[in-house]
């Protein structure tokens, strides 16, 4: 078990996502420092993948920009290490990436490096419950958590996924891919209740959340709120000047849910 639970002890958790290396790793590093300063409870560090099939256009394009700018798994490990040793980031950090990024690095080697860099767990959207042990069994050996996702279509799968979940549960708010949505159509209250009745770990909702109003509404039904595309969009818009905009945005979201 990792220190992910720390993110959920002071009320509702706000969990921002960032695509590492867009527009460059220096900007990502600064954004993460500012996110902590603005009250984020945990950070999701996206390791870009060339073909992110669970992502909408915003994160897909950010991933391509990051790879073109030279982001690699090793450079992202180095950045995470700096955040811990030099930049005073103490909140939990998890990696979000795709199965092949971890698999091709070597699952064991990936875990060793992650542990060294102060990473607490992993979100792999293309690894469902049925395939989880290939990764989770190795991660467990290093005290790292494999975070499970639950979707609006999970239905009869919720109980088994939730009861064996580690770290926290990522509730996917909507069908489809990541991205800003004006309206979330899923019956979130009943999905949240179903997850909580089987879960032994906290749960956070993501996909489609961008405004403080949406965050406040969603936080009623979970222990935390995850925001990705809205932040990645801010970075796409402001480039190297993004850190202060990201800080202001995270602060507004944190205050909406606390």
């Amino acid at each position: 078990m990792s220190d992910i639970s720390k993110a959920f002890i002071n009320g509702k958790a706000f969990i921002p996502f960032i695509t590492c290396g867009d527009p460059d790793l220096e900007t990502t590093e600064e954004c993460i420092v500012r996110m902590q300063k603005a009250g984020a409870s945990m950070i999701e560090l996206g390791i870009p993948f060339s073909d992110p099939t669970a992502e909408g256009p915003v994160i897909m394009e950010a991933s391509i920009r990051a790879l073109e700018a030279g982001a690699t798994t090793d450079r992202i490990f180095d950045m995470a290490k700096r955040l811990r040793s030099e930049r005073g980031v103490t909140i939990p950090m998890v990696f979000m990436t795709y199965a092949n990024v971890v698999f091709s690095y070597g699952i064991e080697r990936f875990c060793v490096k992650s542990k060294e860099c102060g990473i607490s767990g992993f979100i792999l959207p293309d690894v469902p419950y049925e395939e989880k042990e290939e990764f989770a069994s190795v991660m467990r050996g290093y005290g790292l958590d494999f975070v499970s996702l639950i979707a609006p279509t999970s239905e009869d799968r919720i109980a088994k996924i939730a009861s064996s979940a580690e770290g926290f549960i990522y509730i996917v708010s909507s069908l489809g891919v990541t991205g800003v949505r004006s309206k979330i159509n899923t019956d979130i209250p009943s999905l949240g209740r179903a997850v909580k009745s089987s879960a032994n770990v906290p749960c956070a909702i993501g996909f489609g959340i961008s405004t403080p109003e949406q965050a406040k509404e969603m936080s009623q039904h979970a222990d935390g709120v995850i925001v990705g595309s809205a932040i990645v969009k801010l970075i796409a818009e402001h480039g190297k000047d993004a850190p202060s905009y990201v800080e202001d945005y995270v602060r507004s979201m944190v205050s909406a849910i606390t």
Binding site: T53, A99, S104, D126, E131, E133, S148, S164
Partner: protein, 396 residues
């Protein structure tokens, strides 16, 4: 827990978002229910024979045999099927299954456009809505097939992400499926993706080798020594191999697209240049860099221009049961022209990759050996592109 399903050796599995898991489970259950259902199989056989024009001929290519001066060569003529390729076999099976499942809408990816045309055809026949994802680059090099799909009532979505080719069309079709599952079946065109697709598509394509095995026994009184097929995702290849897998003396050879050569970056030869990875729902071989980023592959053939290969092929490679060779653009174009001139058969540029390997192998073999080459599709769609390759600009 060990709940992983659909393994071929270490390959296969179901590496997909949780949102899609119940959809593939529903598909698996439906398939298991119908695959041995006599009524379903009767309906499918009627479609194969009455609509698609099966069984396809096994043609003794005497001119080709003579010209190459080696073994006896037969061509399994999937190019004579309705819609012009083997793709119709799988599509009729999946569309019928989708209909039984109560789905009213088919989505599909397509590279060369053959699978898209086949899906649009089945949708028209069965009164279903159809949307086809096709890389923008491919919509340009296969413009005729885009028109055919539209004529058949399908909508065609040009995909601009990534390399704007087949892999991106698959990614986009998967994204679309996660947004709309209830009424939609994803009619995957090759023996790839998450379980149960590699098994379902293989079973529907296995008709190729079921027929050819009986046909060659009838014609020659014995099994062939070699079976050749082109191999991108690998649906016509697995269909061509399947009923010979237990016949250990029959050599199975998949012909991959080397593009400009396997020592260049402009290649799509997955087994020859890739390594084991996880992508598009499956573990298999993929062209990728040291950090697992999927490589931008290239081939003159839009249908073979894919960075992965089906998991069953990956296993057949690991066990040595099948061999996978790489054929360059130049070799394939030469074979395209050679078969046209010697036999009066214009093969798809995909299928020409198998013919090209036969042109190397057949002359080295004794005259009493027998080779079966699957001509997976016809080459009308490729004429403009090959003309361009030869420096001739023609209007389609």
């Amino acid at each position: 827990m060990g709940e992983s399903k659909g393994r071929f050796g270490i390959h296969g599995g179901q590496y997909i978002p949780e949102t899609l898991m119940n959809a593939v489970i529903e598909l698996e259950e439906a398939y298991n229910h119908y695959k041995d259902d006599p009524e379903f199989n009767k309906e499918l056989e009627d479609l194969f024979n009455g609509y698609a024009g099966r069984p396809s001929n096994l043609y003794f290519a005497s001119k080709l045999t003579e010209a190459l001066g080696g073994c006896r060569i037969y061509l399994k003529r999937e190019d004579l099927n309705h819609t012009g390729s083997h793709k119709i076999n799988n599509v009729l099976g999946q569309a019928l299954l989708a209909k039984k499942m109560g789905k009213t809408r088919l989505i599909a990816e397509t590279g060369a456009g053959q699978h898209g045309v086949a899906t649009a055809t089945a949708a028209a026949l069965m009164g279903m809505e159809c949307k086809v994802f096709m890389g923008k680059v491919d919509t340009e090099r296969q413009a005729l097939n885009v028109y055919r799909m539209k004529l058949l009532g399908a909508s065609v979505m040009p995909v601009t992400s990534g390399t704007a080719t087949l892999k991106d069309a698959v990614s986009e079709a998967m994204r679309e499926w996660t947004t709309r599952i209830d009424d939609t079946h994803y009619c995957l065109g090759s023996v790839m993706g998450p379980h149960p697709f590699p098994t379902i598509v293989r079973d529907f394509q296995a008709v190729i080798s079921r027929e050819s095995r009986a046909q060659v026994l009838e014609a020659e009184g014995r099994l062939p020594d070699y079976v050749l097929a082109c191999c991108g995702g690998g649906s016509n290849a697995i269909g061509s191999f399947y009923h010979y897998i237990n016949d250990k003396d029959v050599k199975l050879i998949g012909c991959e697209a080397a593009g400009r050569g396997i020592d260049t970056f402009e290649t799509a030869a997955t087994i020859n240049t890739g390594k084991v990875g996880i992508f598009h729902g499956m573990k298999s071989y993929f062209c990728q860099n040291e950090y697992g980023q999927i490589a931008p592959v290239y081939s003159i053939s839009a249908g073979l221009d894919y960075p992965g290969i089906g998991p069953e092929h990956a296993m057949l490679h690991d066990t040595g049961r099948a061999e996978y060779v790489a054929i360059t653009d130049e070799e394939a174009v030469n074979a395209f022209e050679f078969l046209s001139k010697t036999e009066g058969i214009i093969p798809a540029i995909e299928s020409a990759h198998a013919v090209a390997y036969a042109m190397k192998l057949a002359p080295t073999l004794p005259k009493d050996k027998i080779m079966v080459i699957t001509i997976s599709g016809r080459g009308d769609k490729d004429c403009a592109a090959i003309a361009r390759y030869r420096g001739e600009d023609i209007n389609e």
